[in-house]
Amino acid sequence: MMRARIFVAAAATFALAACGANNDPLSNDTDKGGASNAPSTITVGSANFAESELLAEIYSQALEAKGVQVKRQFNIGARELYLKALQDGSIDLLPEYNGALLSALATGGAPQGVSSPDDVLAALKKVLPSGTEVLDQSAAEDKDTLTVTQETATKYTLKTIDDLKPVAGKLSIGAGPEWQERYQGLKGLDQLYGVKFKTFKPLDAGGPLTLSALLKGQIDVGNIFSTDSAIKKNNLVVLDDPKNLYLAENVLPLIRSEANNPTVSGALNAVSAKLTTDNLTTYLAKVQLDKQDTAVVAKAFLADNGLA
């Protein structure tokens, strides 16, 4: 009697767990079909900031419109982390920025004298990890910037990153934690401009944490993305980058070669053909300011551009 009850209880517990698991959330660990064919499902990843997630969603929906099965694995983390996920096959595709990717992959930062979008793309193709490739790049650019408030700019007469050199020892900078080790971060600022900040605050990648810290004066300089509508809204000053620490930063898809096929590249290249800095900024503002859902905004983007 007693044991029968325990058995029933145990069975019920298993049933409970099973109904939680019926869609098999563990499925992305299983083998993805035959190794020779392109996988039937493409896993799309994204970095941990709003624009990357929006672009990843646009890619996903564009692929779905062409009948490709998509699994979304967004919000993974910084480049240092998601590149590993791409290499170990956890994800197949994600939106990238040509210059930042080049800077991350080329030892010692991007090669000298490379700055136009085409130069960057050519240089990037030489250093891509084996088994990965990039597709057509778009005209849309989103650069990392060093941004200050109007007040700070006036106080220290700041126009370019060069102007920071004499005063940086008094200032603090906020950016994603990955900036500590990146060439396009503290290292490059020091090596290229001789700019060394008093303190570094690890916050987020061009996100609201950095923005709010900048606006509240908890940091003096923030890493804000050039497509962020908050720059205009808050009258922030983006410091020029005369030495091209931040190269051309065109949006482009980075994909595992084995996941690529004509349908996939066709769909993604069509997206890249339509993406511009202006429309990216506009649609991103719908996510960042109007708090519209990424999926809704992505859908609108594709519909407005005749892509789906």
Partner: protein, 216 residues
């Protein structure tokens, strides 16, 4: 919040489903593993203190660190949900092994002696007498482990796999309160539901505790 839910119903549901699986599968595996381990801590008394200390140690490893290291140790992919499952299983065992040991230790020696006198062998005595008597203590531990797991899963969102935790990171990246609130509320409701299920199951399998309660 209603608008958020109606626009994102599918994503929220998928996150919830993943959350349930990631939190509860470790509870089941952990429970099964903790029973023999806890028993060993009672059967061999010199094992009890090392066991308790090891469990405390394991529990003080930050979950994020465990999520990050398991791929290195197990050779799994870095975004594999398996990493979360294994990590939470470790925590569950750490919590429950001690509870099982304490539960078995709390069984009145007179009860054990009576059972022995009635002719129970060690294994039968364990399954038919000691375990049922220890069950209320063990179930209390199971409740704690389940609720703790449900809350811990969301940390996985920091590495891209975290059930409802994804709603936290998404909201946080936009300074947008709605998704965070939805995530917290669903997580708490899920914990309450799981807790209730265990309590009800507990009543079902330990009917005698109710009579005792009524008598005192």
């Amino acid at each position: 919040m209603i608008t958020y839910l109606s626009n994102n119903g599918d994503a929220v549901l998928a996150a919830l489903r993943q959350h349930i699986a990631l939190a509860l599968i470790p509870v089941l595996i952990g429970f099964v593993l903790a029973l023999p381990i806890g028993y060993l801590g009672v059967r061999f008394p010199w094992l009890y203190h090392p066991l308790v200390n090891t469990c405390g140690m394991l529990y003080s490893i930050p979950s994020l660190a465990l999520f990050v290291f398991l791929p290195v140790l197990l050779g799994t992919k870095i975004l594999s949900p398996l990493n979360i499952v294994v990590a939470l299983t470790i925590y569950t065992v750490a919590l429950l092994a001690r509870t099982v040991a304490d539960g078995l230790k709390s069984v009145d020696p007179l009860v054990v002696q009576s059972a022995t006198a009635m002719g129970y062998r060690r294994l039968r005595r364990l399954t038919d007498v000691e375990l049922p008597v220890a069950l209320p203590v063990i179930l209390a531990g199971l409740r704690v482990a389940t609720v703790a797991n449900i809350s811990l899963v969301s940390v996985g969102a920091l590495i891209g796999v975290g059930g409802l935790g994804q709603l936290f990171t998404r909201g946080f990246q936009l300074f947008y309160v709605e998704p965070i609130l939805v995530g917290i509320i669903l997580s708490v409701l899920l914990a309450a539901a799981a807790d209730l299920v265990i309590v009800l199951l507990g009543r079902l399998v330990t009917p005698w505790t109710r009579f005792q309660g009524a008598a005192s």
